[in-house]
């Protein structure tokens, strides 16, 4: 899976889970300030990403990394780093 394919899948998560118009989602989008997610949404984001990419997040280990996510690009980077388990 290349970066663009990952981006398309991430966009799908934002559209389906958070009802955000696809046209508003870029790699640079700030997920809280620009896409309107809140801290509780990040819990749902993780659940949706697990489902979409079919991997399991280690809540204890990955938690600190996940809390640093601010942009769509950060999500792409995180998923890239998990590639081995995808």
């Amino acid at each position: 899976m290349n970066t663009n394919e990952i981006f398309e899948k991430v966009k799908k998560v934002f559209v389906e889970e958070f009802e955000i118009p696809e046209s508003e989602i870029t790699k640079e989008s700030k997920i809280f300030e620009e896409l309107g997610l809140d801290s509780l949404d990040s819990v749902d984001l993780i659940v949706a990403l697990e489902k979409e990419f079919n991997f399991k997040i280690d809540r204890a280990k990955d938690g600190p990394i996940i809390t640093q996510i601010r942009t769509v690009q950060d999500i792409l980077n995180y998923i890239e780093s998990k590639k081995n388990s995808i």
């Binding site: 009802e19 809140d38 509780l40 949404d41 819990v43 749902d44 659940v47 399991k56």
Partner: protein, 419 residues
């Protein structure tokens, strides 16, 4: 201490008759039944449940118009609550400025949080033994005070927040506690009422306690039958009723139209039995209410009974009404509105108060649907079996709940000349 007069400036409703107060009025004025057989969905879910009838809302709630970030925390109960509150607030003409001031609060409740969400939450945890498919909003959908919390977030409301979740007395208590907050000058206004969603497990509770109707599964429009000799239990419905209460002073200052007045409220515990409210407890409550409100029972034109159609509850309530008024040589008209839409539990008192206001406006009293032959065991009351033209100025509204939680409200026509 100056006590405020408490008036009603807005109402909102969602009921088995549809969305909005107009559909509620229409259904009752046409004397329709909203009770249906729930079909295979219930049969398959709990095959040994006897009751197969309910009063569901059959129209699309169009809840997607609620912004997603708020909607994610709402189960069906809260969606009903918020949409009915929105109608009431619009009618009252309250603004963002009112809600941010801290002078306007909310008192809203239901029997439990969203039953669909509770069921789903428990099912997922038990089946999957994992948190991975539980969404962040799920807890906020199932927590007991979900309706009040969601209404507060929806309107950015900064005032008092109360959620007296007391089953079938929930909205009676919510209206009463809102009334007290305004009467004693703690708030200028309150959004108040209650909501309930219909789920098979709710009816199962009544079925288990032998309090649910099951002889009319093939003729659903003939049940429930409050006070009728052929009644066989209640039928659960769903909906939400919301009112905006305000001090008379604030309402007049804002130029709001006033639809009625809350004149008195009493809430009391039976303190003996979880499901049985005895006639003497109700009598004591009525006596206390009239004493505290400084109102003479002679002024009561109509009693809107709790009357759920259960075998025992109807007897105790009707006897209490008979004795209370008879010893003063009185016999006001009595009806229950549950024969039309079933028992909407946490929403019932609020929806029924809204219909009481309509009856006062029209000077027409609505009969108990399905009451053909009053049961001899029920008190010898002046039961309404047909619509009755009647100049109606003062109404007593009863609500009694499992857990021995009881509330009674006094409602009066608002008279602009006597302000």
């Amino acid at each position: 201490m100056k006590l405020n007069k408490v008036v009603i400036t807005g109402v909102g409703a969602i009921s088995p008759f549809g969305i909005g107060v107009e559909s509620l009025y229409q259904g009752f004025l046409e004397n329709r039944s909203a009770i249906i057989n729930m079909g295979n969905e219930w049969k398959d879910a709990i095959p040994d449940m006897l009751c197969q009838v309910g009063g569901p809302i059959k129209v699309d709630l169009n809840e997607k118009r609620i912004p997603r970030d708020l909607r994610k925390n709402m189960g069906r109960t809260s969606i009903l609550a918020v949409l009915s509150a929105e109608e009431a607030v619009k009618m009252a003409g309250l603004t963002q400025e009112n809600f941010l001031s801290g002078d306007y609060g909310v008192a809203f409740s239901s029997t439990t949080g969203s039953t669909h969400s509770i069921y789903e939450f428990a099912y997922k945890l038990r089946q999957e033994k994992s948190l991975s498919s539980i969404k962040s909003g799920q807890f906020f959908q199932i927590m007991s005070h979900t309706t009040a919390a969601n209404i507060a977030c929806y309107f950015n409301l900064k005032g008092r927040i109360i959620s007296p979740n007391s089953a079938c007395a929930s909205s009676g208590q919510s209206i009463g506690l809102a009334y007290e907050a305004i009467k004693y000058g703690l708030q200028k206004g309150m959004i108040c009422g209650g909501a309930e969603e219909l789920h098979v497990t709710t009816t199962a509770t009544f079925d288990l306690l032998q309090a649910a109707s099951f002889h009319y599964n093939d003729n659903p429009s003939e049940t429930p039958r409050p006070f009728d000799r052929d009644r066989d239990g209640t039928v659960c419905g769903e909906g939400s009723g919301a009112l905006v209460l305000e001090s008379e002073e604030s309402a007049l200052e804002r130029g709001a139209k006033i639809y009625g007045e809350i004149l008195g409220f009493v809430t009391f515990s039976s303190g003996e039995h979880m499901t049985r409210v005895l006639e003497e407890d109700m009598l004591a409550g009525m006596n206390r209410l009239f004493k505290e409100s400084n109102i003479s029972p002679e002024e009561i034109d109509y009693v809107n009974a709790h009357g759920t159609g259960t075998l025992f509850g109807d007897v105790e309530e009707s006897k209490a009404i008979e004795i209370f008024f008879k010893e003063k040589g009185l016999s006001p008209y009595v009806s229950s509105l549950k024969g039309h839409i079933g028992h909407t539990l946490g929403a019932s008192a609020a929806l029924e108060v809204i219909m009481c206001l309509k009856m006062m406006e029209m000077n027409y009293l609505i009969p108990t649907r399905n009451l053909k032959n009053p049961d001899e065991k029920c008190g010898k009351n002046n039961y309404l079996m047909d619509f009755k033209k009647k100049n109606c100025n003062l109404i007593m509204k009863n609500s009694f709940a499992f857990g021995g939680v009881n509330s009674i409200l006094l409602l009066r026509r608002y008279n602009y000349e006597h302000k």
